[in-house]
Amino acid sequence: MLTCKQFLEELNDYLDPSIDPETKRHLEAHVCECPNCFVIVDTTVKTLRVFRGMEPQAIPEDLKNRLWAALERKMAAKKRSA
């Protein structure tokens, strides 16, 4: 069976839904036998879930205004040169 270190090196593959079934079974065998790695897998999945669940915050209004002012200047300059 894999050691924990060997399993952790393959953790990304294990979490990848496109992993081939044979590799998945090979890695699964370790997770089923190893409570530590079971917890690491579970908490890594949760870590990714909380990051992916966060929608980007709206950019601050003053910053947005400056962005749009800069864009308008650029667009106006293009029109003048056309």
């Binding site: 090196e9 990304n12 990051f51 667009m75």
Partner: protein, 207 residues
């Protein structure tokens, strides 16, 4: 011109076609659609508000200037992310110029995998914190990562670029992306576990 979205979501590809044909409103819609994400990306990489604002502006201004040259081999979003990442990395290098570390320096492997904190989490930590508190916890965790790990994590797991797109964007190899992503994920897992672990369940921590 306004920064508000159209009531119905127009396909990105159609907006790009119209913008490339010179329709500024279509480009504005693309900016509206991605400004929040690009700002988040810029802030995550630079870890500096002023730099992030510069990156946001520069990225969209450059995209506007070079729109006709966009070959459409990738999604517009991937293209604007790539421009923003390049701008952000330039800012980062400028700030670190007194202790220059090339982005593609070899990273340690294997021995350093961080897995000291092994404990189950409280159920649904997302519901125990306000959105702002959760955002702060995640921002702090990302900020603590080494820049080359952080950048890969941001592109792969937050902006959801593929491994190949991330490698191409950063000019590093696919194995380097994979290795850095693994270290980043494990480091973040470690940090968040300290925050979210269920009290009294630290049973494996001594191992």
């Amino acid at each position: 011109m306004t920064s508000s979205s159209h009531p119905t979501l127009v396909d990105e590809s159609e907006l790009v076609s119209r913008a490339q044909a010179g329709e500024d409103e279509a480009f504005s819609e693309l900016v509206s659609r991605y400004q929040n994400k690009i700002y988040r990306l810029a802030k995550n990489i630079t870890q500096n508000n002023e730099d992030a604002e510069d990156v946001l502006q520069e990225a969209f201004l450059k995209a506007y200037s070079h729109l006709k040259g966009f070959q459409r081999n990738s999604r517009f979003y991937t293209w604007i992310v790539r421009i923003a990442v390049n701008e952000a990395l330039m800012k980062l290098r400028k700030r670190r110029s007194d202790r220059t570390v090339p982005l593609d320096e070899p990273v340690e492997t294997g021995e350093e995998a961080v897995t000291r904190e092994i404990a189950v989490w409280d159920d649904n930590p997302e519901q125990r914190y306000s959105h702002e508190e959760m955002q702060q916890i995640l921002d702090d965790a990302v900020e603590d990562l080494k820049p080359d790990f952080r950048t890969v994590f941001v592109l792969r797991d937050i902006e959801e670029l593929s491994t190949e797109e991330t490698a191409e964007t950063l000019g590093i190899s696919i194995p380097a992306v994979k290795s850095r992503l693994l270290r980043a994920r494990l480091a973040l897992r470690e940090k968040l576990t300290r925050k979210f672990k269920r009290k009294g369940e630290d049973v494996f921590a001594h191992l």
